[in-house]
Assembly symmetry: C2
DNA sequence: TTCTGTGAACGGATTCACAGCA
DNA sequence: TGCTGTGAATCCGTTCACAGAA
């Protein structure tokens, strides 16, 4: 049944959840779709429509109970549980990911780390010992992880992703600058600051042209 | 005139450019929309339609000349020039961004760095000396930068973004976990791995449920 | 009165399908 | 014959607008 819910809707829910979290910490108890929309730069109708896919969480004439709605969203998104992740690639980028403090408090725990560099393998980072990428497949067949984080160089990324998929990983966060191919039942998100910059320059160029006139 | 071109199209162009770059380095001279589409997981019709907004770059019966099309796209996107960036926030994340080697070769040069921590201010990182964020506004009024990179804690991000906008910056790459508000003539892209993870867990949850049946 | 929930209308992006050129 | 370029058709997400509950 959830199959028919547009993916864009799913991608907005965490944004709503984060805003509700803020509101809650500021002591706010009730919020209207109007206010939430202004806060987030989204139309109120969109928020109401998005939420209506999952239930009727609001009170007519009042708005939404912040705590209640947040809990519903966390439930829907699976944010109440903890998720285990494996990191592949412990170079500069990988180490930055490991030391990033934003995952753990949100329930995302990196429980395995792999690299191909013999100098890195065996090294300990916090509670993790870096394993050789050659044992990636067998390790993940024994120890289940929910999500793979790919932080290897572009030329190895697709192979790593294929291995992850082969071991039954269904969600991948990819930092490598490639357009990875995965089966339809596997979810992938790309973190790619260069692509982000390269699409903005189009507008900067156009703007400068207009400004020069 | 470029105003009518859908933003999604602009966002796909850098992806095409990257793929063409790969093809070129593999010695490929000609490519059809079919092949390129397979490579990228996009329909051939979409590629042809996207490109048709900007001109007629292909040869019927043959396909596209890889080098030629790449050059056209680089021209359209403004990738032939160099762009100067200012980084605000030189904490752990900011330092990782500074040490990331992927920006410079693509023409993105970080020329200024700011932080609010007195211990960081004045410190030299490579060719950069970290300035106090209190001089952000006046510095950017003197030294033009094209793009701002925001890597400050969430609670300061909107203020920093407002300052950037006030000094005439029209493009922002935001790493802070907030839904920042900017005027319509300012472009912003968000790098937010936690949001990416939080939308994938929805599907993992649904999948597990289905698998348990 | 206020604000939700939701069918219906709308608008915009994707895909189709084919004419036309090499 | 092969593949582009592109109007037309389709699909899908957003917005409208209003009935109905508090």
């Amino acid at each position: 049944m959830p199959i028919e819910i547009p993916e864009v809707v799913i991608e907005r829910l965490p944004v709503y959840a984060r805003a509700l979290n803020d509101l809650l910490s500021r002591g706010r108890e009730v919020v209207s779709s109007q206010e939430l929309g202004t806060e987030l730069g989204v139309t109120p109708a969109q928020i109401r429509k998005d939420l209506s896919y999952f239930g009727r969480f609001g009170k007519q004439g009042r708005g939404y109970n912040v705590r209640r709605l947040l809990e519903e969203l966390r439930q829907i998104l699976g944010l109440e549980r903890q998720w285990s992740l494996a990191l592949i690639g412990v170079g500069r980028l990988g180490r930055a990911i490991l030391s990033y403090g934003g995952f753990y408090p949100q329930g995302f725990h990196i429980v395995e780390a792999f690299d191909s560099d013999p100098k890195a393998v065996g090294r300990r980072i916090g509670a993790l010992v870096i394993k050789d990428v050659s044992v990636l497949e067998e390790t993940l067949r024994q120890t289940h992880v929910d999500i793979g984080i790919v932080a290897v160089p572009a030329e190895h990324a697709q192979a790593v992703i294929d291995t992850l998929v082969a071991t039954g990983v269904h969600a991948i966060l990819n930092y490598a600058p490639i357009a990875a191919r995965v089966p339809a039942n596997v979810h992938i998100r790309h973190i790619d600051p260069v692509l982000a910059l390269q699409s903005m320059t189009y507008y900067l160029k156009a703007h400068e042209f207009a400004a020069a006139k």
